[in-house]
Amino acid sequence: MALLKVKFDQKKRVKLAQGLWLMNWFSVLAGIIIFSLGLFLKIELRKRSDVMNNSESHFVPNSLIGMGVLSCVFNSLAGKICYDALDPAKYARWKPWLKPYLAICVLFNIVLFLVALCCFLLRGSLENTLSQGLKNGMKYYRDTDTPGRCFMKKTIDMLQIEFKCCGNNGFRDWFEIQWISNRYLDFSSKEVKDRIKSNVDGRYLVDGVPFSCCNPSSPRPCIQYQITNNSAHYSYDHQTEELNLWVRGCRAALLSYYSSLMNSMGIVTLLIWLFEVTITIGLRYLQTSLDSVSNPEEPESESEGWLLEKSVPETWKAFLESVKKLGKGNQVEVEGADAGQTPEAS
C-alpha cells in the first residue's frame, strides 16, 4: 500500500531525470534571487538605521541570505545526482547517500516555508524600533555641532523629502521639540526671551516645521512658521488647509515601504518554496523508481516509484517503533545480560 505509486519505464525515468536536472539548475537561479532579495533588504535596513536607533532586527534579511546560499548548494548537488542517475555505475556511488539527502531536503523545505512566513509576520517589531528611532532622531535634529549626531538634521530632512512625510505621526510632533539650535536664536529679541521664559523646561518651542515638510503640490508658497495662527497669513485656515505640508507621519510612511518590500519578498519566497517542494517530490520518485528496479542486470525494465513505502499511519508507526528501539536498545542488552546471568546463577 505505497503512497501515490507511479509506474516508470526506462523512457519515463530518463525523462524524469532530465527534467529534474533542468529544474535544479533553474532552482539554483532561484536561490541566487533569494540571496539578492535578502541582500537588498539588508542594505535598505542599513541605509535607514539612523532613524531606527541602530537596533533593528536583521533576522529576515539574514535568513533570506542563508536560505539562498543553501538553496544554491543543495540544488546544484541534486542536479549532479540527477545527471548521474541515468548511468547505473555512477548512480551506485550516490545510492547510500540519497535517503539522508532527501531527509535534509525535506527539512530545508520546512525551514524555507518558515522563513517565507517570517517575511509576513515580523513587521510588528519594525514598528516599535521606527517609533523610538524617529523620536530620537527628531530630538537630535538641532545638534548639528555635536559629534556623533551632526548628520541627524540632514538624514531627517532627506527622509521627509524622499518619503513625503512629516514628523513621527504628523507635523504636530515638531511643535513639541526644540528643533532650532540656541546658536541661531537672537537672545536680545524680546519675542525669543518671552517664549523661553513661558516654557517650563526653558526650551524654545514654535508652531513651525522644517522646510522638508513642505508639499510642492500646494498652490501657495509653503507656510512653515505660525502654522496654527490663521491671522498671521492672508486667506489661510489651518484646519482646512491640506496641501501645505505633508500629512502622513514618517513612521507610517517607512512602515508601509518596508511592509510592501517584505510582503513581495515573502510571496517570491513562497513561490520558490513550491518549486523546491516539486523538485523534492520528483527526486523521491526518481530514487524509489531506480531502487525498485527488480533485476539489476536489466536496467531497461519497468519499475515503480512511490512517495512513501507504506501508507502514512503505518510509516508514522514504523518511525515511532524505530525511535523506541533506539531508546530501548541499551535496556534490551542489559536485560539480556541479566537473563544470561540469572540462569547461570540458578
Partner: protein, 350 residues
C-alpha cells in the same frame, strides 16, 4: 566585368569568416540592445524635463532616431548571427540564401540611420543652451500661476526639479529676486509693506529677497533661511556675502545642461561603436554571401571561390541597371509578352 575588391576564400578561411561573423553579430545585437535601453532612458528623462525645454527645441528627435537605429542594429545582429551559423551547416543553409539579400539592404539602411542619429547626437546638444534658457525662464515666471490653465503644474515641477537636482533658480538663487513667485491671491492688500513694495516696482510686481522652500540645502547646519537673504542683520550669525550651505549653490540651467549633454554624449559614443560593428558585419556577410553563391549554395565544397563586394565596377553597374530599366519599359508600347522581361532580369542579376 571585374568584381570590386575580390577576395579568394577557400574552405578554412570561409569557416573562420563565418565564425568571426557569428561573434560580431552577437556583439552587434548586444550593442543594439544597449542603444535601445539608453535612448529609452533618455526619452523618459525628457518626458519629465519637457517643461523646461522650449517647445521649439529639436532635442527629442535624438532619442527617437537612435531608438529606430538601435532596433535595426539589434535585428541585423540577430539575423546575421543566424545566417552565419547556418552557413556552417550544409543542411541549414538553403532557406537562408533568400534572406541574405534583403538583410544586406536592410542593414545598409540601418547603417544610414545610425549615421543620421550620430549626426544628431553631435549637433543637437548645442541647441540645448538656448532651449533651457527659454524654458526655465518661462517656468520660473509662471511659478505663481497655480490657477492658470496650462501653467498650474509649473510650481510643483519647479519645486521637484530643485529638490531632485539640487539646484536653485536659473543661474543662482538671486534669479528668484527678479521674479514675483508669490501669487497675488495670497498677498494681503491691507498690509503697508506689501503696498509699498508693489508701488515701488515699475511693473507693479511684488518682488522680495526671498526664495521658495525647494532651494533649501539639507546639509546646512542651521534651519533654512528663506527670507531677507540680502539683509545681513535680519538673522543672527548669517552673512549673505560669505559662502554658506544654506541654499543650493548651483543654478538649474548648468545642472540640467550637464546632465542632458552627458546622456547625449554616452548615446553618441554607443552609436559610433554600433556603426563600426554594423559596417564590419555587413561587409563580412556580403563576402560570405557572394563566396557561397559562387559555389552554387553547396557549402562543403572544397573548391576555392571568390568573394566580392560588387559584381562589377560602379559605371558598369549603373549601365546594367539603366539597361534593365530600359528593357522593362520597352515591352509595354510593343505589347511584347511581359513574361519574357522578368526572366531576362533574373538571369542578368544572378
Amino acid at each position: 566585368m571585374a568584381p570590386v575588391l575580390p577576395l579568394v576564400l577557400p574552405l578554412q578561411p570561409r569557416i573562420r569568416l563565418a565564425q568571426g561573423l557569428w561573434l560580431l553579430s552577437w556583439l552587434l545585437a548586444l550593442a543594439g540592445g544597449l542603444i535601445l535601453l539608453c535612448s529609452g532612458h533618455l526619452l523618459v528623462q525628457l518626458r519629465h524635463l519637457g517643461t523646461f525645454l522650449a517647445p521649439s527645441c529639436q532635442f527629442p528627435a535624438l532619442p527617437q532616431a537612435s531608438l529606430a537605429a538601435g532596433a535595426v542594429a539589434l535585428g541585423t545582429g540577430l539575423v546575421g548571427a543566424g545566417a552565419s551559423r547556418a552557413s556552417l551547416n550544409a543542411a541549414l543553409y538553403p532557406p537562408w540564401r533568400g534572406v541574405l539579400g534583403p538583410l544586406l539592404v536592410a542593414g545598409t539602411a540601418g547603417g544610414g540611420l545610425l549615421v543620421l542619429a550620430l549626426g544628431l547626437a553631435l549637433a543637437l546638444p548645442g541647441s540645448l543652451d538656448e532651449a533651457l534658457e527659454e524654458g526655465l525662464g518661462t517656468a520660473l515666471a509662471h511659478y505663481r500661476d497655480t490657477e492658470v490653465p496650462g501653467h498650474c503644474q509649473d510650481k510643483r515641477l519647479v519645486d521637484e526639479l530643485q529638490l531632485r537636482y539640487h539646484c536653485c533658480g536659473r543661474h543662482g538663487y538671486k534669479d528668484w529676486f527678479g521674479v514675483q513667485w508669490v501669487s497675488s491671491r495670497y498677498l494681503d492688500p491691507s498690509d503697508q509693506d506689501v503696498v509699498d513694495r508693489i508701488q515701488s516696482n515699475v511693473e507693479g510686481l511684488y518682488l522680495t529677497d526671498g526664495v521658495p522652500f525647494s532651494c533649501c540645502n539639507p546639509h546646512s547646519p542651521r534651519p533654512c533661511l528663506q527670507n531677507h537673504l540680502s539683509d545681513s542683520y535680519a538673522h543672527p550669525l548669517f552673512d549673505p556675502r560669505q559662502p554658506n550651505q544654506n541654499l543650493w549653490a548651483q543654478g538649474c540651467h548648468e545642472v540640467l545642461l550637464e546632465h542632458l549633454q552627458d546622456l547625449a554624449g554616452t548615446l553618441g559614443s554607443m552609436l559610433a561603436v554600433t556603426f563600426l560593428l554594423q559596417a564590419l558585419v555587413l561587409l563580412g556577410l556580403r563576402y560570405l554571401q557572394t563566396a557561397l553563391e559562387g559555389l552554387g549554395g553547396v557549402i562543403d565544397g572544397e573548391g576555392e571561390t571568390q568573394g566580392y563586394l560588387f559584381p562589377s565596377g560602379l559605371k558598369e553597374m549603373l549601365k546594367t541597371a539603366w539597361l534593365q530599366g530600359w528593357v522593362a519599359r520597352r515591352p509595354a508600347p510593343e505589347e511584347a509578352p511581359p513574361g519574357e522581361a522578368p526572366p531576362k532580369e533574373d538571369l542578368s542579376e544572378a
